[in-house]
Symmetry: none
Subunit: 223 residues, 2 copies
């Protein structure tokens, strides 16, 4: 699991959960400090998203208790506008702080930054499928050892395919992963990128070997 969300307001918690998972993280939602602690006991999380206002026990004491056993990055959320909770949060060991109400992009960028600080750029893997090779760290793609120029979203889409070979990827799933759940871009853009990607990686884009169309559903990379 990537992220444990500790938020007692169920509606808001669910909302945050949705956005976070839509961004490709795995997450779990705990409604109280107790639930969080028992959750932490059973599974390891990479980041905590902790509400200051919790029933029974407030977020600060929860954090203090958590810090005795765990040291993953913690991002605190609070509705308070004054600086007190921010300061107290930092003292008890929060790594960053976000004030409610917050925008989803801001939340996500804070999460991303904390993850990077704590775990570095850990996506240094090399993905291989047949004669196609993708080095994620250097963003290099080769086919039969010869480099292909694949940038931006095309590259991101290709990585998603390479991480899920042989699996049919729903167009919505691809879209959410690449553009983000809340993007207002037209779905048709995805088709265009698929076209361009095929142009670059397929021997014959009209008879694609890598990116197969799965009608009414999405695409499948390889088999």
């Amino acid at each position: 699991m990537d992220i444990l969300i500790i938020e007692d307001n169920e509606e808001l918690g669910k909302l945050i959960f949705d956005f976070i998972t839509a961004s490709g993280y795995t997450a779990y939602l705990a409604g109280s400090a107790e639930e969080a602690l028992s959750k932490l006991d059973g599974e390891s999380y990479r980041l905590l998203l902790l509400d200051v206002m919790l029933p029974g026990q407030d977020g600060f004491s929860a954090l203090t208790r958590i810090r005795k056993k765990y040291n993953m990055p913690v991002l605190m959320m609070s509705a308070r506008t004054d600086d007190d909770s921010k300061i107290l949060g930092m003292e008890t060991g929060a790594d960053d702080y976000i004030e409610k109400p917050f925008s989803v992009p801001v939340l996500l960028s804070k999460i991303k930054a904390l993850m990077r600080r704590a775990y570095g750029e850990n996506k240094n893997d090399t993905l291989t499928y047949k004669n196609l090779k993708v080095d994620v760290a250097s963003r290099c793609v080769t086919k039969d050892g010869k480099p292909l120029e694949i940038n931006g979203k095309e590259f991101d889409i290709l990585v998603m395919f390479m991480r899920n070979p042989g699996r049919v990827l729903d167009k919505n799933a691809i879209f959410d992963e690449i553009w983000g759940y809340y993007s207002e871009t037209e779905m048709s853009s995805l088709n265009v990128y698929i076209r361009w990607l095929r142009e670059k990686i397929e021997d014959d884009p009209k008879e694609p070997e890598f990116i197969k169309t799965v009608w009414r559903v999405g695409y499948k990379f390889g088999d």
Copy 2:
């Protein structure tokens, strides 16, 4: 032992202890000036983390006493917001000062900086990439043996690049590393430094061989 923490608030002390040890340092926690002095007597520490507010004897007089026998770097912590304790701490021989509440990253970076100042750069390495050579200790850069004048942030950025050749470095990652996460400097400044760095190290800055732009993501040094 690396660090002696002198902090009477047990809970906070434990917390700091945990973070410091989690960062790879060895540490010991003393609850009073007396305990600290007897601890110092028996074992050598490389750095002291000293709370201003101590029971019985305050941190300043403790520091004065400590300074008579020991000269390792001292980092003082205080909850006071005015400048008095900061000034007094510096006068009595503190090397740096951190105001409570502080964030863990800030504390760790201060510790790191003090350690570096006191015990030298542990990373006195010479980085080489093709005809480019960077001596980190003396902050000298040569290209084909001829010295280049690269100072300040340009140098820091170059070092980060040289330590990660062939890897795409996210602009945010570079920014956080060079300016720090909490910096309020504009991201566009990074672009400008990249330009200047190219001006100095590239044969043709318009067709860079070393620092390649990776659109939407960041930069890649070499390959």
